[in-house]
């Protein structure tokens, strides 16, 4: 195992060199607390403002609509709990989908225990919601719709603009978890018409533990973290200046070359899908053929189980991911793969390869070379194969 290739960019990304360089001074030179009025503090404040402008620009939002958080999960929790509790006098019904990230799903489940009612929309075999289902789910007391922009497992992209339009028409707050879409799609919050949108730095070559919530100007939601006057009194806690500066830089870089990035990802993605599907029998592509993230490959291999596939790939230096529950010791395979109608057996044999900026065509070649014998070896061991 000399070669190491990383195909798990949807799990997390390495930070770009330029991002780290931009962060370094803020760890121990310009380290002040932005709430302080002395020069150290003002340096921090200036850096914070610049980073906020950068992130705002990538979403075509106003700077004062961007609120930094400790990650994508916090942004999701804040958006959903904050909107739900702030609108409780108007109703208690929330609509989401069955394929959301756990940060959304478990938050909704928590709210059910707190007296809210939640509708979990089905998706079709590609992972798309049906707009009519959504329309029918809306009730008098619906206060919030939260539907992810792009799915983290199968990459399917929802019709966000249509959903936002419908929500606005019905006067319902609309949140979208754009953690996976951000940096891989042009996102214009005003054109889309969303009210709340979550993003996370570590998915776009920025630091871990930093995210942001876009809150449309004028919208009021409850804080999730109360305390100091940071983030216009809406999210307390001494700002993670190096992290936020890194996020700003990562955002800027991502949007500088969005088109090139998307093209490169799509080329690698398409080749992976094509070659794997052609050379290995008994496979199935999960997710939508075209409405999918530029870097997402998700394929099920019949008769084998995901963890043993991942371990075998890891032994030859390939880092990938799977929707098999056996990686986590829990009973059911991924709720997303179940929701698109896969049988348990097949869902257990899924492989997610997500490509990113540091991948090369040689990496793709390497996977295409190494994967078939590994799948074959595991199938030879499987009591289900040739049955």
């Amino acid at each position: 195992m000399n070669r190491r290739v990383y195909f798990d960019y949807s799990a997390t990304t390495p930070m770009k060199k330029e991002v780290l360089e931009e962060m370094l001074p803020f760890f121990n030179t310009d380290f002040g607390n932005p709430s302080s009025i002395h020069s150290y503090g003002r340096q921090g404040k200036t850096a914070l403002d610049i980073a906020r402008d950068k992130v705002a620009k990538t979403l075509n939002a106003k700077s004062e609509e961007i609120f930094f958080t400790g990650g994508g999960s916090e942004a999701d929790n804040w958006a959903i709990k904050g909107a739900a509790f702030a609108s409780r006098s108007k109703g208690n019904h929330i609509i989401t989908t069955k394929i959301e990230h756990h940060a959304v799903l478990h938050t909704c489940e928590y709210l059910e225990k707190e007296g809210f009612e939640v509708t979990y929309l089905d998706v079709d075999q590609y992972g798309l919601i049906d707009m009519d289902d959504l329309k029918n789910a809306i009730k008098e007391n619906t206060i919030l719709i939260t539907i992810m922009y792009a799915n983290n497992e199968i990459g399917t992209i929802q019709p966000i603009k249509e959903i936002a339009h419908l929500a606005k028409e019905k006067n319902i707050i609309f949140h979208t978890d754009a953690v996976q879409a951000y940096g891989n799609e042009i996102i214009d919050v005003h054109e889309l018409g969303v009210d709340l949108l979550s993003i996370s730095a570590h998915k776009v070559y920025g630091p871990k533990g930093v995210g942001a919530l876009y809150i449309r100007k004028g919208l009021r939601i409850h804080p999730l973290i109360h305390g100091g006057a940071q983030e216009k009194r809406r999210r307390a806690g001494t700002e993670n200046i190096p992290g936020i500066v890194g996020f700003g830089k990562a955002a800027e870089l991502a949007y500088e070359n969005m088109e090139g990035h998307i093209n490169k990802m799509e080329t690698m993605r398409n080749r992976l899908i094509k070659e794997i599907m052609e050379t290995i029998p008994y496979t199935k592509l999960n997710g939508h053929p075209t409405k999918r993230l530029p870097g997402n490959v998700n394929i099920s291999f019949e008769f084998i189980e995901g963890e043993s596939l991942l371990l075998s790939l890891d032994m030859v230096g390939i880092a990938a991911s799977s929707g098999s529950a056996c990686t986590s010791g829990s009973l059911d395979p991924s709720h997303v793969l179940m929701a698109i109608g896969l049988s348990h057996e097949i869902a257990h044999g899924s492989l997610r390869l997500t490509v990113g900026d540091f991948n090369t065509e040689e990496d793709v070649d390497y996977v295409i070379e190494k994967l078939p014998p590994i799948v074959d070896r595991l199938r030879q061991m499987s009591p289900l194969y040739e049955k």
Partner: protein, 146 residues
């Protein structure tokens, strides 16, 4: 995550395959849970002279299958029935807590094979009392936390 021994048995599993005219065959687990283990024993004069397995499952499931086959090969049937999942796990230098249940599968697969053998040959092993071969092993979905 896994010990070197586990990885060795996972990457180079011993005794993979089938035995065509096996005296004893047992299968446990189910594909829904992501794991099926099938054991083939060739038994001569109450001694397990050969053993093979096929497993659909995680790395730990494959490694414990492999180790279990090694541990019962050459043993008498009675000795094989003493095999515990703990012993298999220990022989592999331990398993992560969430993966201990996979070793239970290995123990069960051996027992299931011998159970079928006993039934066909009308032998009685007191070690098998209380053993229900099709019992859902329900080994998953435990929380790590108290």
């Amino acid at each position: 995550m896994y010990s070197e021994k586990v990885m060795d048995h996972f990457m180079n599993p011993r005794n993979v395959g089938e035995i065509e005219k096996a005296q004893a065959v047992g299968e446990v687990g189910n594909a829904k849970c992501g794991d099926i283990m099938k054991m083939y024993l060739q038994i001569e004069n109450d001694v397990i002279v050969d053993v093979k397995f096929k497993t659909f499952g995680c790395g730990s499931a494959i490694a414990t299958s492999s180790m279990a086959t090694e541990m019962i090969k050459g043993k008498t049937v009675k000795e094989a029935l003493q095999l515990t999942n703990k012993a298999v796990a220990e022989a592999l230098d331990g398993l992560p807590p969430v993966k201990m249940h996979c070793s239970v599968l290995a123990e069960q697969a051996v027992k299931a094979a011998i159970y079928n053998y006993a039934k066909e040959n009308n032998v009685h092993y007191e070690e098998l009392e209380g053993f229900v071969p099709d019992e859902d092993h329900d080994h998953h979905d435990h929380e790590e936390e108290e």
